[in-house]
Symmetry: C2
Subunit: 468 residues, 2 copies
């Protein structure tokens, strides 16, 4: 759980409320002007009411040149929280601009989990600089967390947990908390974790219950009903799922032997959920999931090119199908005019089905128990929508080209392609998921290949049979 290090003035806060949460263009302009004229005092005054997360957003929105000047002028006011909030894509750049002493101070303010999150994607030299700035004990904690696999609960957890032996009473727990050194306790905590003598967690007690109970009550009698252990090696996406599904506020993290080694709090789980969604959306659109708005032209081109290359191959495949019917097209040019409609409708229907399937797989709603019913539904929906649009296109074909036969052909091809779209749009993501491939990543290319190929083949093939 991160704490906020910048004190908000009530006046600034009220102003913030009126403005809503967006950094306004005129504030950005005022800040950039202060940077332009090298007015440090003015810059600090303008930045003071901003939350670290807003300062990070500001840095992401301006150009690399403005960023470097701003950071140099802001100098020692730069705090660690801003680094934590920065998008990964510009962290290295910002760290490279910071003076070593400012960087060291900034990093020492952070909790161990935030340092882990900060450095895991940096290059080795920057990692060393930051680890070197930490105190010995913090450095050890960070290095232990880094030993867990990337995107695991072990990386996400904070090491500071407030625990109590299972046999304690409320009085003993309160005395212990009051006697504890400030520095031993996390900055914010909401639960005590009860542990047995082998350090296995056996339940959570909320501070609210602790506070309201008589001193002689046993902690064991106060444990929460919902309690879930998180194995340190569990994927962070599973952690986010569990928090969302079971409304957890914090959950203890355990090692291979079930011993308590840390905890994860809901705000970190919420951040993971947000990232997972972002990845899914970007993957579905064939945009590299590391993509950020602050990426430059070269990075963005590099991320998008592979997906376009895949699309080129699939559309060449579709063109090969068309090429088989050059004779038919030469005789009836209307086929060339109408064929993209069949492919496009199939592609859209397929994307609808596949998006629903990909989402349902991610939320664990699509399982062995209902997969056949969902496939059946998608095929039937494809059939009904196909019939509706077949009628429409049949009429369009007849009116536009005066050929009932052409109308029937496009209508039949539409039905075929939309049924196939419903089937492929569901089966392809399910199969990819079973094979351990992220369905958000690869389904799109497969499904549109199928709907393009089937669309062109069904329409041109039927036309060749019926019309020639």
């Amino acid at each position: 759980m991160s704490d906020d290090t910048d004190m908000m003035e009530p006046a600034a806060e009220d102003k913030g409320e009126d403005k809503g949460y967006v950094l306004e263009s005129k504030d950005v302009a005022a800040i950039l002007y202060a940077v332009e004229i090298d007015d440090r005092e003015q810059l600090v005054a303008l930045m003071e009411p901003l939350h670290a997360a807003d300062i990070a957003d500001l840095l992401e929105q301006i150009s690399a040149f403005e960023r470097a000047r701003l950071i140099r002028l802001y100098d020692r006011e730069f705090d660690g929280e801003i680094l934590s909030e920065l998008d990964e894509s510009i962290r290295e750049e910002v760290i490279a601009v910071l003076k070593p002493a400012v960087l060291a101070d900034a990093v020492r303010e952070l909790d161990s989990d935030d340092v882990v999150d900060l450095i895991e994607d940096l290059d080795d030299a920057q990692q060393e600089t930051i680890l070197g700035a930490l105190e010995e004990s913090d450095r050890a904690l960070v290095e232990q967390s880094l030993a867990f696999p990337e995107y695991s609960a072990g990386r996400l957890m904070q090491r500071e947990v407030v625990m109590a032996p299972e046999h304690w009473t409320v009085g003993e727990a309160i005395d212990h908390l009051r006697g504890a050194d400030e520095r031993e306790l996390p900055d914010q905590f909401y639960h005590l974790v009860l542990v047995d003598p082998r350090l296995h967690p056996i339940g959570n007690v909320t501070l609210g219950k602790l506070m309201r109970s008589r001193r002689e009550v046993h902690l064991k009698d106060l444990v929460e009903e919902t309690f879930r252990l998180i194995p340190a090696t569990q994927a962070e996406s599973e952690v986010a799922y569990a928090f969302n599904q079971y409304h957890l506020i914090s959950a203890p993290v355990v090692d291979d032997e079930g011993r308590l080694i840390g905890q994860i709090t809901i705000d970190d789980a919420m951040a993971v959920l947000d990232e997972e969604h972002e990845e899914d959306i970007l993957r579905l659109a064939g945009v590299g999931d590391e993509s950020a708005l602050s990426d430059n032209v070269a990075e963005t081109t590099r991320q998008r090119l592979p997906w376009l290359a895949v699309n080129l191959v699939t559309s060449i495949l579709a063109s090969l199908v068309i090429a088989q019917f050059e004779m038919a097209i030469a005789q009836i040019v209307a086929l060339a005019v109408l064929m993209p409609i069949v492919a496009s409708m199939g592609g859209n229907a397929g994307t609808q089905s596949l998006t629903v399937a990909v989402r349902a797989l991610a939320t664990k709603d699509l399982t062995g128990a209902n997969v056949w019913r969902v496939i059946r539904r998608e095929v039937l929906v494809g059939l009904i929508n196909g019939l509706v649009f077949a009628v429409v296109m049949g009429i369009v074909g007849i009116i536009w080209f005066g050929s009932p036969a052409l109308g029937y052909v496009i209508a039949a091809a539409m039905v075929v392609n939309m049924v196939v779209a419903g089937f492929a749009g569901t089966v392809i993501p399910v199969v990819l998921d079973r094979l351990g491939v992220d369905p958000a990543l690869a389904s799109g290319a497969f499904v549109t290949t199928v709907t393009d190929v089937v669309g062109f083949f069904a329409f041109l093939g039927l036309a060749a049979l019926v019309l020639l």
Copy 2:
């Protein structure tokens, strides 16, 4: 904040850990078998270890027929939490199956915010039944919340807040909490909200700090640094944004005059964030954002048809462009073979740009401060990728059709369409957003229309100029 009403057996919990979080097919099968043979005891035993959220998932995954039988057999074991967790799409159906007495008991277990969430989408008769089952005081709270607009903070908040006058000391606060009737306090709470005499919130004090401080310390000296007020009329998507951006755990909700009337906790904000993402993904794919996996064929067909109709219109537009070049196609059939490639590459590049823009608008990362830089970047990326694929397709055109001129034409059309795709893919969502239209909802149709029309026009037009 919802509390969990089903007690977990440690053994079941351990088993749950080993299995991961998914309801396994064999468990579902065992439960359905118990329903099949009308074995109530067995059903209750099998359901007992399941969390209400998992039971809701189970109900969503089985057929409507199985659902009704299961609920009737499960009877009075059915608790309110399950209703809360159920997808809206089947709530009415499930409520209609429950016996009135079971429904009344289930509803009375819930917190006021959960009741609000439960009934806001029900039909009037069901709303009346549920309101009628509540005690007078709870009913009044629910009705007050329902007076706030849909999707507002007022609907999302819980009314129970623990507040303390700003002049109190730690000792006074603790004595008050210990003296309070259990029923006056929320089931779970993490902060005290300090208020001035006019009930204006002035700061949060965490229970952890309260507990560790000496009795004579003033609460005012313990307030958290980050503190944000949520106006009751604020949109829930803005609330979710604020929690995620500022790492809030709970935030006080105030009325028009700034008086404290409730609070929102992070778990509810996380649920909203999850729903917003779901909506964005579904809207981007042209699937009704109310769509659920448990919807039947008729509902699903109805949701998807309008988007397919829009797509039909846009693809007919594209066909009208092609029709202008019938002569050219009749002379060089290769044009018909290659033209879908140009359109498809532009469509994909446009979708990439638009997805990035829609996401960045949703996360408030794309603002007046950087919109021109982003447009410039997207256009340049389109230009570079366009040039790369122009070379590839130029070579393909020459090899495949033995015509250098055809190669140049497709190469040039590719560059044009991908530059246009980058431009339209960014500008269209930005303009829609400024006009107050959800860019996730409408951008796709516009962008693909542009890339189809421009793709076909550029390719066939250039071909007509150069090759004929």
